[in-house]
Amino acid sequence: MASQNLRQPTIGVTPDEYQNLSKQFTPKPTVVKNTVRAFFIGGLICAIGQVMINLMVMGGMALTQAQTVATAVLIFLGTLLTGLGVYDEIARFGGAGAFIPVTGFANSIVSPALEFKREGYVAGVGSRLFMVAGPVLVYGISTSILVGLIYYLLLIF
């Protein structure tokens, strides 16, 4: 920090004043536009998922199984669109509308693996597959175990 400088800076602003100045000069995110786009893209991906589920249920599949298969298909589409270099464009437009659906999870799995492929199939692809997905699984699975344990204790008492 500037306060530790042995020779004082010549500019006529203190670091504290600068923090305010910098905030004032930094453009704000276009929240309304981003939100509308996120709603549209996120809604669209979920609607596609629902159509798939409906079709499978009409074909005689059980609902939970149809939901699982639809999720797997969406994950496949997410990885494929990432490989084709399309998903990052969708996400640039749709923001959280593209991150939050399971297709975004798929994108976060493929993109680092793809990028680090040049570092080899084990240290590159294999380890980087979980660069972003790793924390999701760690916290998701841990939470579910915790929930299960608490539920178990509640059932006993």
Partner: protein, 120 residues
């Protein structure tokens, strides 16, 4: 074929709106990875209290496709397994319920990584 599609669109869209607001209104150090963790954990906790189930009932994929749905499946799976097999179910249930999704992500992720090159 189109039943529940509009609720799915609206609920799914609204869940993503929450995510977008979280991202735009928090510090820049809150990355998409942080958001995914928040949504999965959040979905798991809401699921544990049974508060996510109504959302799944009215909107189907609208609540299941977002990552909060993944979290919901995890905790719902854990609780169901505890009912059936007891303590060990707490450990097996969540992963079992989401096994297809995780396996699909790993397999497709691997295949696509090997097949394609980054476009930049």
């Amino acid at each position: 074929m189109f039943e529940m599609v509009i609720p799915a669109f609206i609920v799914g869209g609204l869940i993503c709106v929450i995510g977008q607001l979280l991202m735009d209104l928090t510090k820049p150090s809150f990355t998409p990875a942080h958001m995914m963790v928040v949504f999965v954990t959040g979905g798991a906790i809401l699921g544990a209290f049974g508060w996510y189930t109504p959302l799944v009932k009215i909107s189907g994929a609208g609540a299941m496709v977002p990552l909060s749905g993944f979290g919901y499946s995890l905790s719902k799976g854990a609780m169901e397994a505890v009912r059936q097999t007891g303590l060990i179910g707490a450990f097996s249930g969540g992963v079992q319920a989401t096994a297809v999704g995780i396996a699909a992500a790993v397999l497709f992720g691997y295949l696509v990584s090997v097949t394609f090159n980054p476009k930049g």
